[in-house]
């Protein structure tokens, strides 16, 4: 009476469409409905639009000084003018492209470099790990701003040097976070299974382990972006950072912050600072939104 019925092959009820598609659709729906993700995308989207549009769409030419002097926000200049009579609104909008040219690239360089070093240190325990950690720790002992000043004075300041210097300075910090995440992953069985297939170290690190440590890397990237802008602003304040007359947000603040002493002329500093804050918050909202949905 027994019929050879293989359970797995002949399921009773028709199984639902492939598991992965439903899950992916559900995650997407969930993502689109989470407020943090939406607001974050809107903010970052706005600034990316202006980074691309640049000064072509701004109400005034960001470098045009025709207004002549410091005007209070008025209908002519919605956000007022700066000490050289340039329209603050146009400079803040156009400034997005300049700010995007330095801080994010520095962050990417730092995160990229940090990830590679972190992976190597985390995977190759023993002497390699000890050595790398030693170097990381000694670089971290140096204050970021001092290394940047020394490096920029040596190489000469330009956007490229800024990106390289801040990127290099961030690498050890990112490397430490990535190393910690890799240490947790390297002892899991799928790494041993990969080595049992005869996979070599680079494959195991970059194809097997890296995708699984993307979570902490994304978080570190958003934190580093905030600190990159912070570092550019500090260096610009000292005269090493972005070159005038660029409408870069940090430079705008560095040029006009002394005006605040008089208690008036607040608009020349408030709006670029708000621009920086909204960008950082936007990026972090997106990261939080992503994490909430993926970590469930």
């Amino acid at each position: 009476m027994s019929t050879t019925v293989d359970p797995a092959l002949v399921p009773q009820a028709a199984p639902p469409p492939s598991e992965s598609r439903i899950a992916r659709r559900e995650t997407l729906v969930q993502l689109l409905r989470s407020p943090t993700f939406i607001i974050g995308t809107l903010i970052v989207g706005w600034w990316v639009f202006w980074a691309i549009a640049g000064s072509s769409l701004t109400p005034h030419d960001p470098l045009d000084q025709s207004a002549g002097q410091l005007l209070r926000p008025s209908h002519g200049h919605w956000l007022g003018t700066d000490s050289l009579g340039r329209d603050v609104l146009s400079r803040v909008l156009a400034g997005a492209s300049d700010t995007f040219k330095v801080a994010p690239l520095a962050m990417l360089l730092g995160v990229g470099g940090g990830t590679v070093i972190g992976l190597i240190a985390g995977y190759f325990r023993g002497v390699v790990d000890e050595g790398i950690s030693l170097v990381i720790n000694s670089i971290l002992a140096l204050p970021v701003i001092v290394i940047s000043v020394v490096a920029i004075t040596a190489i000469g300041s330009s956007n490229a040097t800024l990106i390289v210097v801040i990127g290099v300075v961030f690498t050890p910090i990112v490397a430490r976070t990535v190393r910690a995440a890799v240490l947790a992953e390297r002892d899991l069985e799928y790494v041993a299974a990969a080595r049992l297939r005869g996979e070599h170290a680079p494959y195991v690190m970059f194809v097997e382990i890296l995708p699984n440590v993307m979570g902490p890397i994304i978080v570190e990237a958003t934190v580093r972006l905030g600190y990159a802008i912070f570092a550019v602003a500090g260096l610009t304040f000292l005269g090493f950072g972005v070159q005038p007359p660029s409408p870069d947000w940090s430079l705008q603040i560095a040029d006009n912050y002394q005006l605040l002493n008089s208690g008036t002329y607040w608009w020349t500093v408030l709006f670029p600072a708000l621009a920086i804050a909204t960008l950082i918050v936007g990026v972090n909202l997106i990261a939080d939104g992503l994490q909430q949905v993926f970590d469930r």
Partner: protein
């Protein structure tokens, strides 16, 4: 069933005390090697600076051979290695040499500057750590709700705003307009402890704004991890109320990561406050190092950065010690 036959289960031997000693010895040795590495990096970086020290000090009108004799006098023409050895061998013996720029002993410049920086860093530390832990814990306990969002976003925005903006706003509001707090951080000489604190308050608030976001975020993550842990469930199921669970079980474990992250900020808190020192006209070691870098004052620059490195390593050692004291897993590395 009468009481079962009592059988003795052999208990484990008590762990040895040498664990902490060996752990710290290893960290100390590591710190020394890091220090050596740091001195090499700093020396190399200083050599990178363009320009000629003699010309810089003697000014544009000095003749070329005056400049050369000056350089020879200060041994700036000797090969790299002997210069490095000359410097580090004296540094270790506490003789930091003379500043090329001011022609005064480096120690007399760095000593008070380091003292000031430590004072400011200490006050900032005392303010920012409790506030961040409080903020992070509240955000974690109200996870997902409005307070959590508010704390996280304010923290984030403050961290990304450049230091000198927060500094100037504080100066204008509290210093100039309301006149509650002094605008410059250097208390008149001989001022008492509390007046010095009063003078250091404004810069410390600026530092709190910078560091709050970062530390609160770490605390929030570790508190959430502790709240979701099984031992918190055991605590609740013992009948403990939320406050007791938080105080006795959650906070103790969530403090560990915060300590580690705060130690990493020492490099910034001691040597990196250049911008804030400039704005509050405070003679800290950050500004000393910066002027030394700007004017190619090798001896001052190298010793300054190395001292900051020393303080950083000391702080990380203390953090390690604290971490191992609080975390029994490291203190008693387990018998089996």
């Amino acid at each position: 069933m009468a009481g079962l036959l009592r059988r003795r289960a052999a208990a484990r031997p008590l762990p040895r005390r040498t664990n902490i000693a060996r752990f710290l010895l290893k960290r100390f040795a590591l710190a020394l090697v890091t220090l050596f590495l740091l001195s090499v990096i700093v020396f190399a970086a200083a050599q990178l600076l363009p320009g000629n020290v003699g010309r810089n000090v003697l000014g544009p009108f000095a003749s070329q051979q005056d400049v050369d004799t000056y350089n020879k006098l200060h041994g700036l023409d000797k090969p790299m290695l002997s210069q490095y050895w000359g410097w580090i061998s004296h540094f270790v013996r506490g003789d930091l040499g003379k500043s090329l720029q001011y022609d005064v002993s480096v120690g007399s410049l760095l000593g008070p500057a380091l003292g000031n920086s430590l004072k400011l860093a200490a006050l900032a530390f005392v303010l920012v750590v409790p506030i961040s832990i409080l903020g992070g814990t509240i955000a974690a306990l109200r996870r997902g709700r409005v307070t959590d969002r508010a704390i996280t976003i304010t923290g984030l925005s403050l961290t990304s705003i450049p230091e000198f903006v927060t500094a100037i706003v504080l100066i204008v509001v509290f210093g100039v307009a309301l006149k509650w707090l002094p605008v410059n951080a250097t208390a008149p000489p001989g001022a008492g402890f509390f007046t010095q604190i009063k003078f250091l308050l404004l810069p410390s608030f600026a530092l709190v704004a910078v560091l709050f976001g970062y530390i609160a975020r770490i605390t929030r993550a570790s508190v959430i991890e502790a709240v979701d842990a099984d031992y918190t469930r055991t605590a609740y199921l013992k009948g403990l109320g939320p406050r007791q669970v938080l105080g006795k079980h959650v906070l103790r474990n969530s403090l560990l990561p915060t300590i580690a992250v705060v130690a990493t900020q020492t490099g910034y808190l001691i040597g990196g406050l250049l911008v804030i020192e400039k704005l509050f006209n405070y003679n800290g070691i950050g500004q000393r190092i910066y002027t030394a870098a700007e004017n190619k004052d090798f001896t001052l620059l190298q010793s300054g950065v190395l001292i900051v490195g020393l303080v950083y390593l000391a702080a990380t050692l203390i953090a390690d010690l604290l971490y191992s004291l609080l975390n029994p897993r490291i203190r008693f590395a387990g018998a089996e």
